[in-house]
């Protein structure tokens, strides 16, 4: 049994040190997922607490087939989406899939005039409609397939693809001003500053 398996086993048995070690090692990544999906630090803090309780509650079902972080990541996403549903944010996501008129205008000129060009991708993501934002984060950042997203959000795969297309198009516009500086750095070893 590896050291990591031993830690997990001790955590399953209720050893606080082992539980804390798993939390310390994985919280920076897991909490980042929660924060991304929630988009609000205060809400994310509450959700993160729920997420970690759920992870530890489900720990006896962890078989070690994948990395603990990967296994916990799935729980974090599911639990966060459930929590967001509770605060009726996902309801808007589902509505947006059917009617995307709620999204901000898809006009780059208008965006620029309104002064909402984003300084970073997380700022830009916050300017997407809830539906597009969730689909983009799940697909492009968290690595979910459209089928998984459709199942998770209760939408069609076509709706998921459509939202992703809109999300990426808008992000490219919102981040357009980074283009020169960023393109120069892409593919090079270092030197990119966003």
């Amino acid at each position: 049994m590896t050291t990591h398996q031993t830690i997990v086993q001790r955590a399953v048995e209720g050893d606080e040190r082992a539980l804390r070690q798993l939390w310390m090692e994985n919280a920076p990544h897991i909490d980042a997922v929660v924060l991304r999906l929630c988009g609000d630090r205060d809400l994310a803090a509450d959700v993160a607490q729920e997420v970690w309780i759920q992870i530890f509650r489900a720990l006896p079902s962890y078989r070690g087939d994948s990395q603990f972080g990967t296994w916990a990541h799935r729980i974090a996403v599911n639990r966060t989406l459930n929590a967001l549903r509770k605060v009726r944010r996902i309801a808007k996501v589902e509505m947006d899939v059917e009617d995307d008129t709620a999204a901000a205008p898809d006009n780059p000129e208008a965006d620029t005039e309104r002064g909402i060009m984003a300084e970073s991708i997380d700022q830009a993501v916050k300017q997407l409609s809830p539906g597009a934002r969730t689909v983009f984060l799940l697909h492009d950042v968290e690595g979910y397939t459209h089928e998984e997203i459709a199942s998770e959000l209760g939408i069609t795969t076509g709706g998921s693809k459509s939202q992703l297309f809109k999300a990426r198009a808008k992000l490219r516009r919102l981040l357009a001003h980074l283009s020169d500086g960023f393109s120069a750095g892409v593919g090079q070893e270092h030197g990119t500053t966003i």
């Binding site: 050291t3 048995e13 209720g14 050893d15 606080e16 040190r17 539980l19 804390r20 070690q21 939390w23 310390m24 090692e25 919280a27 920076p28 909490d31 980042a32 929660v34 924060l35 991304r36 630090r41 994310a44 803090a45 993160a48 607490q49 970690w52 309780i53 530890f56 509650r57 780059p108 991708i121 997380d122 697909h139 492009d140 950042v141 690595g143 397939t145 459209h146 693809k161 992703l164 297309f165 990426r168 198009a169 992000l171 490219r172 516009r173 981040l175 357009a176 980074l178 283009s179 960023f182 393109s183 750095g185 892409v186 593919g187 090079q188 070893e189 270092h190 030197g191 990119t192 966003i194």
Partner: protein, 237 residues
């Protein structure tokens, strides 16, 4: 994963839009982003105890009665070295502090110095260097460099934890007092790094420094618990 790249490219307006390649690079960076924990273990553990997920250790924790009470006061925002030394000096200071964390946490000097060298090179690069090579292996992208750094950090922390667990020198040198002094120092470093992160929350170097300090603090806390006399209890940490 499916990708709408073909459609995107056909509609792209180069002068008005970020390229797909650049957007993908930003996404890769976002995938590796980490944050300081959003919850505190103290609060989480209370909930876990209420759920019965933490075993009642009353009968097992018989080692400590002395309380270790670290400084609970966070460093005032805007004061001290974090505020006054400027962005680049701060990065260098963070690097130096990480060196200190490495030394106290692991005492695995060969491995530690390897990481230290990587961090120093990363700092050098972030201050204007044009390329980074570690052990003769050139990085091909910022993402690969970050992944290597994160992997090295994880390996280092695991190795440090192992070395600490099997190290008997502190007991010979005076037992828990050594760990108490170390813990007090790490508390200050963690507080300082958190303060720095408030000013630059997305700075990867500062994030890594914070995580390293927090991990070293955690390891030291466990060592302190193991080194206290039988019958003592750590009431606060």
């Amino acid at each position: 994963m499916d990708s709408p790249l073909a459609l995107d490219k056909s509609m792209a307006l180069p002068s008005k839009e970020l390229s797909d390649r650049s957007l993908d690079a930003l996404i890769t960076r976002e995938q590796t982003r980490v944050v300081a924990p959003l919850t505190e273990w103290h609060h989480l553990s209370m909930s876990l105890k209420q759920e019965g997920l933490i075993r009642d250790a009353a009968g097992q924790r018989t080692r400590s009665e002395r309380a270790y009470v670290p400084s609970a006061e966070p460093a005032p925002r805007g004061s001290g070295w974090v505020r006054t030394t400027g962005r680049w000096t701060l990065r260098l200071a963070a690097s130096a502090a990480l060196v200190g964390v490495g030394i106290v946490a692991g005492r695995g000097m060969t491995f530690g110095q390897s990481l230290i060298t990587q961090i120093q090179q990363a700092v050098s690069d972030s201050t204007g260097g044009s390329s980074v090579h570690v052990a003769g292996k050139p990085f091909t992208s910022p993402a690969s460099a970050r992944q290597t750094l994160l992997r090295a950090q994880t390996d280092y922390q695991s190795a440090a934890a192992f070395l600490d667990a099997s190290d008997s020198i502190p007991q010979r040198l005076g037992g828990s007092s050594l760990y108490e002094d170390r813990l007090a120092g790490l508390d200050e470093m963690t507080t300082a790094s958190l303060s720095a992160l408030k000013d630059a929350p997305r700075d990867p170097l500062l994030n890594q420094y914070f995580l390293s300090a927090a991990a070293a603090r955690e390891a030291t806390l466990q060592q302190l618990g193991n080194s206290l006399p039988v019958g003592a209890t750590m009431e606060r940490f």
